[in-house]
Symmetry: C2
Subunit: 174 residues, 2 copies
DNA sequence: TTGACATAGTTAGCCAGCTAACTATAATGG
DNA sequence: CCATTATAGTTAGCTGGCTAACTATGTCAA
């Protein structure tokens, strides 16, 4: 996944929001506040995740490829499938696989059935890398999220789904 | 703000999460689920916001600079302050200002008091650009967020604050 | 008062996304 | 059965972040 946004250090105060709402009467102050708050926390989470992964020589892109491969029973998938699941272009996936192959974490296996295609296979070194990264990641994430109990987590996901359902409104042609 | 993460198209099913939890007993399944869900929705929101802004010839970086300037009573600020509030480096801010100046949306004003410093001033054209963009943005955001009532928005922000408080756990030295 | 340090802005070069175009191979329909 | 279209992977070049290094200016303490 590739989320790019400006890191919002100074969320607007309600005073600023009201000032803007005067000039732009369509402004829905709590909508803006929640929206920016959500983007800000997610941005900081993403940066922190990269910091955590970089201690193991990974970033989100490559890390996610390894996870997608581990999910497969055969520890194998094509670049196209990986690109689609990771939400990046095939061109980007080529670069990610190049880096992982250079590090010996995956290997390209050429298939006979469809000669256009390549299978990407998680190597033992790749699995070992995951076995080093994932426990650290899971421990840290557990601590990070310990402020929310189970009920709150469910509520959060429900609200995220509601927002997600509204996203098309941001881009819809009028 | 610069949030970079892989766009997670395929969130793990609870089945997959349990499979991983077997190998990695530290995994806190609902923590992982909520975390990925949050990053995914925020990513999609960020992409949609860029799509919305790009119809007006802006992206998040430049758009945010214009907003920060409009917040100031004098419609003026230094690049350093803008960089700090936007959460980008001063180097990045130089590039953003270059682009905005080229489009006539801001101007560099050299000061006499501190000759190291420059003041960035929102031009009439810059204000006009905001007057074109912001109503569209606010209308769309209102629709996007209309699935959440006021109580839910408050709850959401509270939960985001709880997560935010846990972020240091992701990067803390052990 | 001057040497060391701090601050403001810029420049240069890196990186990981992206799109568009290309090659090779497969699938399909007239 | 062959021309067209679709698919898989790669390459080339763009973009907007980043860090590090640099210039110029200001500040402060010995």
């Amino acid at each position: 996944m590739v989320l790019i946004m400006l890191e919002l250090k100074d969320l607007p105060t309600t005073g600023v929001l009201h000032k803007f709402a005067e000039r732009y009467p369509d402004a829905d102050i709590t909508a803006v506040s929640s929206f920016l708050h959500l983007l800000r926390v997610a941005t900081d989470l993403s940066i922190a995740l990269d910091t955590c992964l970089s201690k193991h020589g990974l970033l989100q892109g490559r890390w996610w490829v390894l996870i997608l491969l581990m999910r497969e029973d055969t520890h194998t998938a094509t670049p196209s499938v990986l690109a689609s699941k990771a939400g990046v272009t095939r061109a980007t996936m080529t670069g990610l696989i190049d880096g992982l192959e250079q590090g010996g974490l995956v290997e390209r296996v050429f298939t006979k059935s469809d000669r256009r295609s390549v299978l990407i296979h998680l190597t033992d070194a790749g699995q070992a890398k995951l076995d080093a990264v994932m426990p650290d990641y899971y421990q840290r994430l557990r601590l990070c999220m310990k402020g929310l109990n189970e009920a709150q987590r469910i509520q959060l996901e429900q609200m995220l789904d509601l927002i997600n359902a509204g996203i098309p409104e941001l881009t819809k042609q009028k």
